[in-house]
Symmetry: C2
Subunit: 645 residues, 2 copies
């Protein structure tokens, strides 16, 4: 390219100055990468006929159409066993988490009947087990209680819970349809770890109410209010309840321990909760536990889900509460459900489409909210049990659903004897498994900022409130991403001796520099938020170099900006380049560009920057640029590389 | 590195697997890059003695100590002329913008007396002229009017304006002291362009009140309310006022035109506003304009600024209004002042430290608020006039300040005859210069997203409100930055024939690939927000490649991930690498890493990822990696590169 190139050096390779792509092409490619990163319709192109294309599309949106025709008895054997196992978990969890949301326990059982059937039709994960989750139950309670007390007006309270569930479902469906899976990406593992840990601690403490048989309790969800409430009501403590609770908890933790030591005994911990419920119920029935200070669940009506469409309540007086609950739980439920679905799919080397899962979750919650269910997603514990029990397809959810229907039709009243303390023990045991302090310690050891994000979630949830904790943690993670953009990494390059490679001199201290030439690698992107920084940084390199170099008698004559890393630049960035060029020219330094990437080159051409600096100032490799500069260096002759300190 | 390396190929260069830097070192370097990008104390290290160090520090914080001892009469000649010129601009602008803020016009004059003196001590820009600005005046009025009407209770209203100014000053000082210049970086040029344009349109329309001599007018600041207010009061229109106004406006626009055509006649447009005020005042005095429907400014008291410390009002009933006004104007005033200071410094090849400027602005507004001034910054028009008039140092501000003092002491009552319509014409003319549609068109041609950011600011301000418009525009700019992080650019690399260079095959379509080896360049950073995307993207490359390649009988055996661009990775990123590696292994593909940068390498070592994949899977250059892979390819023999389509 450069006319100054030394004929004896290696050939100089051509830079592509081709005309920029059209705006339409760029926009299409960007939109595709942003919203369709998984390229869902990639297979469609190869299908020749329209009916087959239609079939593919239907199969894509309604996975059951794809897997059901291939279904056989052999697969069903596995799904039957897994389905019964998760049903045995669904009953105690359903009742417990409903208690956590302050709604009648029967709604917890309803919620394991309808939603799994819907998921089975639209869901794409083969291992996900549908059910209610603790964190969302608590968020719903905390939000709705701000407006309506479940004690004073349970009818209205339950209506608002259904409304929150409907709103969640609508948000989830809309997000899936608009392919906003990208929003879920912003809930990082560290955020979820901290949020879940904080929630688990809170829920554990709240269970002290059930364990100690307390009658009065706070509706606040921060740790200080809860602990204060526990100790302020010391007079209400019931030792009988506490003893039974500790025994149950010890049993549950023991089965968990067994599972950890002998993974093939997973079923021991899977059936432990239903065992606790049954044993507790029998004990309560025969020992008349109620008279000894051990409260029970109370009447449970036979019969399957009644319709609840008439209970949906958008009264403007209350609507802010279900709106807030719906929005937060929609996001958390999606993050949990999709992450869990993906984790198990990866083990089996399968693909899960997050956006499709959102639609499935959305439908599940919309229809659920109309049939007396509250928010459901894919809880970790249940899904893990389903997976371990050997489920093969979504059919295991259908089996669970049928089990729940039979329970609702015939066995529901039996569960009315379940002692509350047994439910508390089940919840506590499940929550203790969510406090993953080893993972937090691992974060501390390997990435302090991730640890900070995690701790913001943990302490925010524990000491302020669940939504503030979540926002703090997400906010901190966003700050990290923005800081990355505001301060892109730049480094000085040196030549690895004996090669044509140029690397960061901080990382490779033996790399050498040519006197008078300063190659700098710019980080990406070059955006308005970092233009000031990049200018200051380059000028600082020049100052540093000048102060080192003048003693040796060499002055910087060329600055080589390696743009190979820069994948995006905006208008302010291009303006900054012009400015830097002017500033450098005032110091008699020439600016050379190396390897502008496709998008950057297009912007530099459109803004006429390339015209301004001339095509001869742009090279495809640093080596080419340095050879050309070295050849035309005025002061020092073509010296070999000098060691940098 | 790799034992499989072909002995005949070029030598393989060593990757640096050195131990990670300590947490302290990394933190220090990160903090320095984030908060001290300009390295303000770089010169201190070279100073040997303590007194000289102290002197340097004092000079750094109080620039007047540095420049005043070197000041001489020759410089003063220039500064005197420039100072008188900007004083002639300060009087009409001060009165006009005070009217815009709905405060007594005399406060506008006070505001050009004290703040310039403070700036002269602490400010580091030699060209900045201190004064009030239109946008901030309007924001103050819009915010405070929400709580208190300037018509009903002017005393309280003015107190809250002073309080807003104090809050602005405190925020600016705090931001400077904490070196939060990084926050200002997030106000992009496009945002400011749109925001200023929208504000200018609004202010122009509002001036129709003065031009048409209306008595009743809306306090809303959106375009629809303002236009409705103008046309709803058609009966109040005064043709005399309109005629005078149009004549003044035509005159002002003509002088502006003269300046554009003959830049050395800049003083014609500089003294035009004071000419309009004087001519208007004489006309009003002799023609008894008031009786003909042309309102005048009204009584102006002689005397310099009274103290206003007793008027600062933090009454919780009203404090939200000055708090909001203070926060928004602090940011906007900083962005405007610093950007303008920097622009003129660059022309003269000088340096401006943004954080130091913030402190100077902060002090200026704190002391201003205690001496009956309202918010001041470095307005563009005044600074440009100062620069063109040949100012040499901050002394021109002192000259202006003294002129203002003399005006306040002796001439103030004369300005009471200024017709309001003259002020409206001055404001309108200034605002017309801020609607930079050519720049917006340039954005449209070169960067559609920047154009969108600009338009969000423009229409948000014009149709909703100033704060909403600003937030919309900033929010959109942040979304762009976050989208960049969420979807880093990845590309497939190919070999530029005859070289060892590997470049994007989309940009260099003639680049060749080795069958069975897929080199991919990953974008930076690899963060939680893009891990799912990166995984999907890599798997998609593999699927595409497999479908192309199987027909030729070659299967992908190696994936080479070029990490040369990746300057940052978090824990989720490392976990994703493990996951990708597992997924690829299931497909019998080996993963090779190339050139991990310093920070990334450290994270990979700390998390034991390097241990897991083995040091022999990491190369310093793609060429090394490809040579090694090619040598050990099992299926196809060492074929030469094949053209990609």
């Amino acid at each position: 390219m450069s006319s100054a190139s030394d004929p004896s050096s290696s050939p100089v390779y051509e830079v592509n100055f081709g005309p920029p792509r059209s705006f339409g092409t760029v926009l299409k490619s960007k939109l595709k990468e942003t919203f369709l990163p998984d390229d869902p319709f990639s297979e469609l192109g190869s299908e020749p006929s329209l009916p087959r294309k239609t079939k593919k599309v239907v199969q894509y949106f309604v996975p059951v159409v794809e897997w059901l025709p291939k279904y056989n008895l052999n697969l069903f054997k596995y799904d039957l066993l897994a389905g019964i196992t998760i049903a045995s978990l669904a009953i105690p969890q359903g009742i417990s988490y409903a208690k956590l949301a302050n709604i009648p326990p029967i709604i917890g059982l309803y919620s394991s009947f309808v939603p799994p059937l819907i998921y089975c039709i639209f869901g794409s994960s083969k291992h996900l087990a549908v059910g209610t989750v603790a964190a969302s139950s608590l968020i719903i309670a905390a939000s709705i209680e701000e407006k309506v007390s479940p004690v004073d007006n349970i009818e209205l309270y339950v209506s608002l819970v259904f409304t929150a569930c409907l709103i969640s479902g609508l948000i989830q469906t809309a997000m899936g349809a608009l392919r906003l899976g990208i929003l879920i990406d912003f809930l990082s593992h560290s955020t979820i770890l901290g949020f879940m840990g904080g929630t688990a601690v809170l829920i554990c403490l709240q269970q002290l109410k059930g364990m100690l048989g307390l009658k009065h309790f706070t509706t606040h969800t921060d740790m200080i209010s809860v602990l204060h409430s526990v100790f302020a009501n010391r007079k209400e403590w019931q030792w009988q309840s506490a003893v039974v609770g500790i025994i149950f908890l010890a049993f549950l933790q023991f089965t968990r321990f067994v599972k950890q030591r002998r993974p093939n005994l997973f079923w021991v911990s899977a059936i432990a909760p239903i065992t606790v419920v049954i044993v507790g119920g029998l004990f309560a029935y025969f020992a008349h536990a109620e008279k000894h200070g051990i409260a029970i669940v109370g009447p449970l009506k036979k019969g399957i889900n009644p319709p609840s469409i008439n209970r949906i309540n958008f009264d403007p007086k209350y609507v802010s509460a279900p709106l807030k609950a719906g929005l937060i739980t929609a996001m958390i439920a999606l993050a949990e459900g999709i992450a869990i679905g993906r984790s198990f799919a990866i083990i089996k080397n399968e693909q899960i489409d997050g956006n499709k899962e959102m639609i499935a979750f959305g439908f599940m919650n919309i229809i659920g909210s109309l049939t007396s269910c509250y928010l459901t997603t894919g809880p970790f514990s249940k899904t893990a049990v389903n997976f371990n029990a050997g489920c093969r397809t979504q059919m295991s959810n259908v089996v669970m659903s049928i089990c729940m229907m039979l329970t609702l039709l015939f066995l529901a009243p039996l569960f009315s004897y379940t002692p509350l303390v047994a439910l508390s023990a089940i919840i506590m045991s499940a929550m203790l498994g969510l406090i993953e302090y080893e993972k937090a310690y691992h974060l501390y050891k390997t990435d302090k900022f991730d640890f900070l994000i995690c701790m913001a979630g943990f302490f925010g949830v524990a000491f302020i409130s669940m939504d503030v904790g979540l926002m703090l943690s997400v906010g901190l993670a966003l700050v990290r991403a923005l800081l990355y953009v505001a301060r892109p990494a730049t480094c000085k390059l040196g030549n690895i001796p004996g090669s044509k490679l140029y690397r960061d001199v901080e990382q490779y201290p033996h790399a050498t520099l040519v006197p008078g030439i300063l190659p700098i690698k710019l980080g990406s992107p070059i955006y308005y938020a970092n233009c000031q920084y990049i200018r200051e940084r380059i000028l600082r390199y020049v100052r540093q170099e000048q102060s080192l170099v003048t003693s040796k008698g060499n002055v910087i004559e060329y600055i080589i900006l390696d743009l190979g890393d820069v994948t995006s630049i905006d208008i302010t960035g291009v303006e900054t380049f012009s400015e830097i060029r002017r500033l450098l020219e005032a110091k008699d330094i020439k600016m050379i560009l190396v390897d502008p990437r496709l998008a950057v080159m297009e912007k530099l051409i459109v803004t006429k920057f390339i015209e301004k600096i001339g095509k001869e100032s742009v090279y495809l490799s640093i080596d080419d640029a340095i050879e050309a500069c070295r050849y035309s260096l005025r002061t020092s002759s073509k010296t070999e590389g000098v060691e940098v300190v």
